[in-house]
Point group: C2
Chain length 367, copies 2
Amino acid sequence: MGQVATIKDVAQRAGCGVATVSRVLNNKGSASAKMREKVMTAVKELDFQFSEVGRSLQSNTTRTIGCVVPSIENPVYADAVQGAQEVCLDAGYQMLLICTNYNAEMETHAIRTLIAKQVDGIILTVGDVQNSEGLDLIRSRTLPHCLLYNTAPAGQISWAVDDHAAGVKVADVFFENNHKHTGFVGLDFLSSDRARQRFEGFSQGCANHKMTPPALLEVGDNEDNLTPQLDAFLKRHPNITGIFASNDYRALATIRSARQLSIDVPRDMSIVGFDGIKVGQMIDPTLATIVTAPRKLGAGASQTILSMITGSTPLQLPLKEQTFSFRAGGSLMPLAAESKDGEKVAAFPPSDDQTYKKAKIQQERST
Amino acid sequence: MGQVATIKDVAQRAGCGVATVSRVLNNKGSASAKMREKVMTAVKELDFQFSEVGRSLQSNTTRTIGCVVPSIENPVYADAVQGAQEVCLDAGYQMLLICTNYNAEMETHAIRTLIAKQVDGIILTVGDVQNSEGLDLIRSRTLPHCLLYNTAPAGQISWAVDDHAAGVKVADVFFENNHKHTGFVGLDFLSSDRARQRFEGFSQGCANHKMTPPALLEVGDNEDNLTPQLDAFLKRHPNITGIFASNDYRALATIRSARQLSIDVPRDMSIVGFDGIKVGQMIDPTLATIVTAPRKLGAGASQTILSMITGSTPLQLPLKEQTFSFRAGGSLMPLAAESKDGEKVAAFPPSDDQTYKKAKIQQERST
DNA sequence: AATATAATTGGAAACGTTTCCAATGGGAGG
DNA sequence: CCTCCCATTGGAAACGTTTCCAATTATATT
C-alpha cells in the first residue's frame, strides 16, 4: 500500500487541528463554514478516507460481525449467509466469514479468531450445541451471538427450521395421500442432529395417524452407491409406498436409484425431499419437498444480532410453524383410495398420463 | 462485551512491563524462564487474547482479505468463495465477504468499505472490467488485488474460466457427434459478459468445422416461461438438433420446456450445459456440460493475493485450456451417421433403450 | 464600549499493540 | 575485586482515531 493520507495530513493541509477535521467529517460538534470548506477540499485533494482500524481502537467497536457456518457449498448455508450479509451491510456492518467444513476443531479456532478480531457479534452454526468449546468461549465473554440452524437450547435464540414439526408435516402429507407405509432415507445420524429431528418428527407424525412407524435407511455420505442399499431396504420393507429423504439431494439420488431398480416415481413410489432447492422444480418429475427460507433465517439472525448490539428491542422470532412449508410436486402422488389395506401392487392406478396429471393437480391444491 | 483483559492487565498481574508480555507471547526477543512462566500463568488466569485491532494499528496490517462477488446464491461463486476462504484461513488470513447483487453502485461501495477497513488485499468479480469505479479506486491505492471470473485486461491477473475456449470445445463436441445445426440459449447479453464469450467461442468453433452458425435465443432472466420462446425458436430453426445453454440451470429449463413441447432429450434434441453443478449428474438424463472448478479458481486467486502480499513469487496461472473440461452425459447423444444431410426426422435411431445406452457409453468414452 | 454568552478551535489523552532504546543486573574473565 | 559484556527488562513512542476540556474568538446584550 502506498502511503495513505491520515487525518493528520488532512489537518495540516487544511491548516487546522485534527480535532476539527474529525468534527467536520463526522458532523459532530461545531465548525465554521469556512473551516468545513477548507477541510473538505483537503479531503478531496488527498483522497482521504478514515481508517476503520484507528476508529475501532478508539471506539472499541469494529462494525464487523462474524459468521461461522459449516460450508457455503451447501446452498442452504450459502443463502443464509447471503441473507445475513445483506442485512448487516444495510446496517453499516461488514461480515467476516469462516467455514468450518463440519470440523469441531476448526469451529473452535474460528471463534477464537473472531473474538481476537473484536467482532461486535457472531452468527454461528455449530456442530453440537450442547457441547461446543467455541460457544463456551463466546458466552464467557458475553459477546452478542445468535445461533443459526441449530435447535436452540433453553433460553437461547436460534434461527432455525423446526425440523421436528416439518417431519410431522411430511407424515401428514403422506397420510392425506393415503400412504400408510413409509421410509426415511438419511445420513447416519451421528453427524447430523437435524436429520435426526426430522426423523423423530416424521415418526411422531406417523404415530399420530396410526400409520406404520417409518422404516429407516441410514446411508453414508457416499451418495453414489445408493442403489444397492435402496434395493436391500425395499426388499426388507416391500410395502413401502412413500419415502421421505433428509434433503433434496438425497431425494434426487433416491429417485435415480429407484429408476435404476425399475421403480417409477411417482407411480410406484412417492418421494418427498427437504430444503426446497431451486432445481427441484426444474426437473421431471418436480420434487415434492419441504421448502425452507434460508435467506430469511440468515436475515433474521442478523437482525437479532444487530438489535442485541444496539440494545433495541429484539426482533420477534418467527413461529416455529412458519419456518417451513410444504411444496407439492410430481414426485408425490396420492395412492388410490382402495389401497388402504397396503396392498401396494393392487393399488396402482392405471398407467395413464391423464390420471397422473389429475393426481398432481389435486396434490398441488392440497397445500 | 464485558471488559476483556488487555496486555496491560497481564503485565500488571505478572508483575512486569507490557513489553515483556509482548515478547513472551510473540516469542520474539529474550525473556527469562521465570518471566515466561509468570506471564503464561497470568494469561491463563485472565483468559487473555491479543486484540487484533491494536495489532493492526501498529503493524499497518489487518491479516484480512476482502472478497467481492455478485452473489453466493450462485453456487459457482459460493464454491469459489469457499475455496478462496480456505486458502486464506490456512495462511492465517480472514475473509471479509461482500455480495453486490450484480449492482455496480454496491460494487463501488463495497470496495470503498474494504479499503477503509484496511484489508491487505482484495479478490473481486466486477460487472465490467473496462469500466469499474471500484477497480480504479483499488489501483489508485496500489492495493494487492486479483480478479476472479473476469476476463483479464492486458497485463492483469485474473482467475477465470476461458469461456471462449469452452465455447469452442462445445462446438467440437457437437461436431464429433454429428450435430451440424445448433442453437445457443443465453441470458440477454447486456448483463453477462461471460455468456457472450461463450457464444462467440461457440460460433467460432462451429465455423471451424464449417457447421451452420448457431442460432441465438436470448431469454430474459425470467426462467419460467421459456417454453413459448423455445417453441417459437425451434419453429424458426426447425433443423436444430443440439442446443448449448449458457449455464446448467438454463439447460435444465430447456430440457423441461422441450419435454413440454413433446421433444425428447436426447432423442430429438441434445443439450449441453455449462458449470457442472452437482445435480447435473443426479437427474435423468444426466446433463452433458462444461465442468469448471470454482473452488480451484477461488483458491488460486487467494494464492495470488497472498504471494503479492508476502512478495513471494506469484503462483503460475493455469493454462486457459485447463480451466474447464467437458463432461459427457445422457442429454447429448450422437446423431446417426446417415443424418449428415441434416434431415432430422430421418436421423432418429429406433426407439430402443439398448441403443440409447450404447450411445451414451460411446459418448462417455469420447471425452 | 464593556461585559456576558455562545460558538469555534486545537492540544492532549486514550484505545491496545509492537519495538526501539536505555537501564539494570548477573556472570565471566582478568 | 574490578571491568566488560551480554541477557533481560521496562519506559516511551508510534500507529489513526475520537473526545474532553480549556482557550480563543465572535456575537449579543447592556
